[in-house]
């Protein structure tokens, strides 16, 4: 076996290179930090590979162009950050409704509004889930380590093609701008990278409208109006009901196939930490330190954030005495954990940083000690 390629990249570089690996040949974006490096790198790489790079007039246009590019047969992606992600919600909803595969990267920064550019935050998880109007489900991935950012970027393209949906790749600024060395995964360590027609043959049932791109000789009609299985607008209540149930269930019913988490020292844990993104790394260090002090604590780090791993969390919460949720927001994940636990007596604690600084191991360790004393 050859010596594997070892690289020294920051999260944004990883996303750009992994997107190319995943066959991405279309990017449309609008300048915004802290996601800027993704666009800059792809403006260099995509023309070399015969792909399209577009810098559009605004975030809305970028999302529109991505959907247009995807319907033209491309593997399309855009990248943005909080305020830009807000603007993208309109055409993101269009991609959901028209079941057009694409990948949307959101490098989260402090908000609301212009917020704290470009300090780290994790305040967009609910926007990723519910930012666009109407009933739908979404897939959102929250990788935490360089090699995982690479793998999950490739998986984002795969999932978007399988489930005919936009996939959100949600990272925080710490991951985006931390440069580390890692080994590039081999093909067998990655999800499949296949052309559109491969998915058309295998996953036709995941598309309500005819599963074709433009210019495939089928004269398809694509509309953001609620449509029937032929793709044309309808207001027949039964068909509208069926189409929305399809949008929701095609992802929710496959949760087990999509779910990914990291479990660390949970087997005998009395205290569970549930977190995602860069706080997952700080938490792992805290777990190691607490274990040295004899505290039985473990970590669940969520990698597939949406659909939410509620069954896994419910089972976990039933087996521990307390749960700590570190996150760079005021408790969005904690609220979901509370809902998943369905227990009013669960001892649930947050570590919440919204000041624009990353969560550090000592922040989590102090909370572990405090919770442990109260057990």
């Amino acid at each position: 076996m050859n010596v594997r390629d070892r690289v020294f990249w920051a999260g944004n570089e990883i996303i750009a290179e992994a997107a190319v690996r995943a066959g991405c040949n279309f990017y449309a974006g609008y300048p915004i930090t802290p996601s800027s490096e993704i666009a800059a790198l792809l403006s260099l790489r995509l023309p070399q590979l015969g792909g399209v790079f577009l810098q559009m007039e605004d975030e809305i246009a970028a999302m529109g162009a991505v959907v247009g590019g995807s319907l033209g047969g491309s593997k399309a992606m855009t990248a943005t950050s909080g305020p830009g992600f807000s603007l993208k919600q309109e055409n993101l909803g269009y991609a959901i409704m028209t079941e057009t595969p694409c990948v949307v990267v959101d490098v989260q920064r402090g908000g609301p509004s212009t917020g704290t550019p470009t300090a780290p935050a994790q305040g967009d998880i609910m926007q990723a889930r519910w930012g666009t109007h109407g009933d739908h489900t979404i897939i959102a991935l929250t990788p935490g380590y360089p090699v995982e950012v690479y793998r999950e970027t490739v998986r984002a393209f795969h999932l978007s093609e399988v489930y005919r949906t936009p996939v959100i790749l949600l990272i925080d600024e710490v991951i985006a701008h931390t440069t580390e060395s890692f080994e590039i995964p081999t093909d067998s360590e990655l999800d499949p990278v296949q052309p559109r027609n491969w998915y058309q043959e295998k996953y036709a049932e995941n598309s309500f409208r005819p599963f074709f791109d433009f210019y495939q000789g089928k004269h398809i009609h694509v509309t953001g109006l609620t449509h029937n299985k032929a793709g044309f607008a309808t207001t027949v209540p039964e068909i509208v009901q069926e189409s929305i149930e399809h949008l929701v269930n095609k992802i929710l019913l496959k949760q087990k196939d999509i779910e990914r988490n990291e479990s660390y020292m949970l087997d005998d844990a009395e205290i569970a930490i549930i977190t995602f993104g860069s706080p997952g790394r700080a938490s792992k260090v805290a777990v190691d330190e607490a274990r040295k002090e004899g505290i039985k604590v473990g970590l669940m780090r969520i990698i597939t954030f949406w659909p939410f791993p509620k069954d896994t969390i419910r089972a976990l919460v039933d087996n521990v005495k307390a749960v700590i949720v570190p996150e760079m927001n005021m408790g969005m994940l904690r609220m979901e954990v509370e809902r998943a636990a369905m227990r009013r007596d669960v001892s649930l604690h947050g570590v919440n940083r919204v000041g624009g600084v990353p969560i550090e191991p000592k922040d989590v360790l102090e909370k572990i000690r405090e919770v442990h004393r109260g057990l």
């Binding site: 015969g50 246009a61 959907v67 000789g217 694509v222």
Partner: protein, 301 residues
Amino acid sequence: MAFSYAEWLRPELMPHIWCPGCGIGIVLKTLIRSMESMGWDQDTTGFVSGIGCTSRAPGYVNMNTLHTTHGRAMTFATGLKMAAPERNVVVMAGDGDSAAIGGNHLIHSCRRNINITLVIVNNEIYGMTGGQFSPTTPGGSKAATSPYGNIDPGFDLCKLCIAAGATYVARGHVANAIYLERLIKGGLSHKGFAVIEVMSNCHTQFGRRNKHPDPAELVQHIASNAVMLSKWEKLTAEEREGKYPIGVLHKDTEKPEYTEQYAKLQKFAQDRVREASRKIAEAESMKPKPEATGGASPFEV
């Protein structure tokens, strides 16, 4: 020669949503005839729209059709065109759709000069939402949201597009479909961003509130204010009051077209990669070979 609309339409989706007497049907039929006579193929043409009365057009046409979000048609069309530059892309949009919510996209599409034809049906009102004033509603007009008369000055869409860099800008109206067909064909055959503004009637929402409730009368009124460009140029400012010029208002065949520019950029990038690879290979070939240094060590793992 007999022309079969049936081949170009989706009759199973009729009846359409447009009011009796609406001008949009005339524009759509004219566009279809233009594409047919240009030899455009239904399989290799993408037909894009936004939201509004006009933007319902693609649903009725038997080709690859894309009904997008309000104002955003040009953004989707740009993505579609860039993904497959050899295919034709045509867009239909209304005045509210393209000039208000889509104004920014319109301007930048003109600036890029991408090879797409945009047909704007300007009926000077938001029809579908119930007759609110649009950016092209003439000052003083009554609308659902201007019961005391509209104080917002109107846009001259053609002037806007010319200033923003579109390379084919024409204006026609629904009372003369033969002439409109010439203008649209001029746009379809033009290499670059072509805008054809079509003055049309909305007697339901505009005319009813502004002393033109009868569709035929409103169409006649629209036609009576149209002045051929050659004649327009000789009119005084006073004589131009309330009237508008029709014809090919602007044509530029010099400005580079966007997909062609992009293809050149791709080639440049690829040539640079090839050149860099050649240099790396050359440097590699000058390195001492393993044989020259006694071959690979038997102890190497």
